[in-house]
């Protein structure tokens, strides 16, 4: 199985350890993982802000980079949500539609496609609060949402439950948005920062030592809020835990 490794721009720039963990984790399953070196971004920052035309160059480049793989896998729910649901700045050719349909967020790829049932190399003896980003929760359907009357399920929880020693703790507002929201974090900074601050305090109250997420953008924002508020809590991407970080 030939996998295109999608490392979104801000993970490339700020969280290389998340990219490395994703690559190493996928390689553990005997997959042929290829990193196309000319990749940049999926176009989400521009499109989410309404500037769809400005996203067309990035979207076209994304398709050029990732055409021809069996699957494209990336460790970022919001980017994959963009690719699957909003990637319309470029003409919808067969190649574009194919790439969009074959692009998976890491958790869903492990859960739905590989159906991984054990991570024997992983051990994480800590209290962990799971932050489902809105893109993964309500966009990609990683888990049941608290607003809907539906049976409880959670793909990230299912994966984390296979990690030795890991104990999940729940925030009092389990799927309240943390307030990152792309450009919202800058143009509506006071509300954004307050949401992030409330989020990390909520997790701290639940005695979480770590906040784990499938989205580094939410983690980057929450970490910035926690550091400013002197909340001692650590942040880690789910790829790192599943790849055996701290084991």
């Amino acid at each position: 199985m030939k996998i295109g490794l999608f490392i979104p721009c801000f993970i490339d720039a700020f969280f290389p350890e998340v990219g490395i963990a994703t690559l190493e984790l996928l390689e553990r399953f005997d997959l042929n993982v290829v990193y196309p070196p000319d990749q940049t971004c999926c176009g989400q920052p521009m499109a989410n802000s309404g500037f769809e035309t400005d996203a067309s160059g990035a979207e076209a480049l994304f398709v050029r980079n990732f055409d021809g793989f069996d699957y494209v896998v990336g460790p970022s729910g919001s980017c994959v949500h963009h690719i699957r649901h909003h990637f319309t700045a470029v003409e919808q050719t067969a190649a574009v539609e194919g790439v969009r349909a074959r692009t998976y967020e890491l958790v869903e790829f492990l859960h739905d496609i590989l159906k991984v049932d054990a991570f024997p190399w992983a051990r994480f003896p800590h209290k962990v609060g799971l932050h489902n980003s809105c893109g993964t929760l309500r966009g990609l359907g990683h888990a049941s949402a608290s607003e809907l009357r539906e049976p409880h399920f959670s793909k990230p929880e299912a994966l984390l439950s296979k990690v030795d020693g890991l104990e999940l703790v729940a925030a009092s507002r389990p799927d309240e948005c943390c307030g990152f929201g792309g450009l919202f974090s800058v143009f509506n900074e006071s509300v954004s920062a307050k949401m992030g601050s409330d989020k990390v305090h909520d997790f701290a109250k639940a005695k979480a030592e770590y906040i784990v997420s499938a989205d580094s953008s939410c983690l980057m924002h929450q970490r910035g809020c926690a550091e400013r508020d002197n909340v001692s809590i650590k942040f880690i991407h789910i790829a790192q835990i599943l790849n055996g970080a701290g084991a």
């Binding site: 993970i11 998340v18 290829v34 940049t40 309404g50 500037f51 400005d54 809105c134 607003e147 009357r149």
Partner: protein, 485 residues
């Protein structure tokens, strides 16, 4: 300022003035972010607001879990509304015919001005100088009170929250709980200044009693009464009004003249359809199974008059907007506002519009795309609003769609336009992108703190910047896996 929220002491609220809403600058864009920042700078108000509305959201969830058919009900409610809206002309005429047969006078108003002058004419004909009214977002939308004041008609709001807002000279901040942004100390201050109650007594029972004593005589002596409507039933011509205070019943039943102001989207075809909507309205709004009063008005009382003013005011135009017409399904329950994390931290008045919160973001720009051009950006697109909506309006997708429309209309700030154009150009070119990323990380790693955390860096105002790593993923890959491509 924001920091003080963590060690909240209720006693401090007495010294915290109530934050006011957005500054109205005529046709210029409302700055929601600026008003929200002032709301956040009043931590007692913000905390109470957030917690009160979150409680409503939790109660709504409890109601949802008490009804196994909840999701089916949402699907049905949505389908009934979409059916009605796509046959609106037929149902409006059916309603008119049946209401007329019941002895109701039916008026058609194409916009706010026509609505206000119809109401004024009806009042004039009976020589009415005082009007008691129950809560109606439509009359807020039409600016009715200001127009009637000019004509010398005194308007008395009878919904407690709405009355508080009227006495304070403020608009309602929420479609269901209009004074939810106020602390009880704020209410005590307003009542002391307007109805002469004790400024130091902020006991809610005392305040409600004082208001009742002051308003009851005005209600009993009013010349005319006005209500809004939650639903119009086409097959019977009935007007259905849901309240918890029974004040709509006072407005409809005490004076001889009852005027109903209602938007044309409030129609439903049959009485039996109410079984869906009445079950969902209060559950979604306040998390209670039903409102205390669900009143059906079918015609004038003996010797009285009943008028229904059917108001368009932009609704027909909205009905023709492919991406936005389903916003007309809204039953004004406010569930999207209660769940919205941005709304709870901003206050409804920060939106500077009749409709605030998520539903406001997608309705307000239809009234004035320039004035409300910032509103669709006051969202993280988290989608909770869509999930709680009892009529399944895809609110967050419409917010996303409005952003594209506003960018096309050039109703976005220059700095954002320039930044997005530049970002789009960089991200389309791998070599330029590489150079930019590496320069940024170097700058973050080497610049002194004062150069990073300055007035120009909105991110850094209340948050720390990300820490630049020693190398990017790309650099790591080339170094460690270079040969493997």
């Amino acid at each position: 300022m924001r920091k003080s929220t963590s060690d909240d002491r209720p006693g401090n609220s007495k010294i915290e003035p109530q934050p006011r809403g957005a500054r109205n600058k005529g046709n210029r864009p409302i700055d929601q972010a600026e008003a929200a920042e002032r709301f956040l700078a009043a931590p007692h108000h913000q905390k109470q607001h957030d917690e009160r509305l979150w409680t409503l959201r939790q109660r709504r969830d409890d109601q949802m879990w008490s009804m196994p058919e909840w999701e089916q009900m949402r699907t049905l409610a949505s389908a009934i509304k979409e059916h009605t809206l796509s046959h609106l002309d037929t149902y409006l005429e059916m309603f008119e015919t049946n209401a007329k047969a019941n002895g109701v006078v039916v008026h058609w108003a194409k916009d706010a001005a026509e609505h206000n002058s119809i109401v004024q004419r009806v009042l004039e004909r009976r020589g009415a100088r005082t009007l008691i009214k129950s809560k109606s977002m439509l009359t807020e939308e039409c600016g009715l009170r200001a127009d009637l004041a000019k004509a010398g008609v005194e308007v008395i709001e009878t919904d407690l929250g709405e009355r508080i807002q009227q006495l304070d000279g403020e608009d309602p901040s929420h479609v269901v709980v209009p004074a939810v942004h106020k602390l009880r100390t704020d209410v005590a201050k307003v009542f002391a200044a307007t109805i002469g109650s004790d400024p130091d007594n902020d006991d809610p029972h005392h305040l409600a009693g004082a208001q009742r004593d002051a308003t009851r005589p005005l209600i009993l002596n009013a010349d005319a009464g006005m209500t809004g409507a939650n639903f119009l039933v086409a097959e019977t011509g009935a007007v259905v009004v849901c309240t918890n205070e029974g004040n709509a019943d006072l407005c409809a039943n005490i004076p001889d003249l009852h005027i109903v102001s209602v938007g044309i989207e409030k129609l439903i075809p049959r009485s039996e359809d109410l079984a869906i909507f009445v079950r969902m309205l209060s559950r979604s709004a306040l998390g209670s199974p039903i409102t205390q009063y669900t009143s059906h008005f079918r015609g004038p009382r003996q010797g009285g008059e009943m008028h229904v003013v059917l108001v368009d005011n932009g609704r027909s135009e909205r009905l023709g907007m492919e991406e936005f017409w389903t916003s007309l399904k809204c039953i004004r329950c406010g569930a999207c506002m209660n769940t919205c994390p941005v709304y709870r931290r901003s206050g409804g008045l920060s939106y500077g519009a009749t409709y605030s919160g998520p539903i406001g973001l997608i309705i307000d720009p239809t009234f004035n795309a320039r004035k409300y051009s910032n509103l669709p950006f006051a969202s993280t697109l988290n989608g909770s609003c869509t999930n709680v909506c009892p009529v399944k309006i895809n609110i967050h997708e419409q917010i996303y769609a409005w952003r594209k429309v506003l960018v096309r209309k050039h109703e976005t700030p220059f700095v954002k336009r320039a930044a997005m154009k530049a970002a789009g150009a960089v991200l389309a070119r791998p070599a330029v992108y590489r150079a930019t990323v590496e320069r940024t990380n170097e700058a973050l790693a080497s610049l002194p703190r004062f150069a990073i955390y300055n007035g120009l860096n909105a991110w850094g105002k209340n948050r720390e910047m990300p820490h630049p790593p020693a190398e990017t993923f790309h650099q790591w890959f080339i170094k460690n896996r270079g040969g493997k491509r």
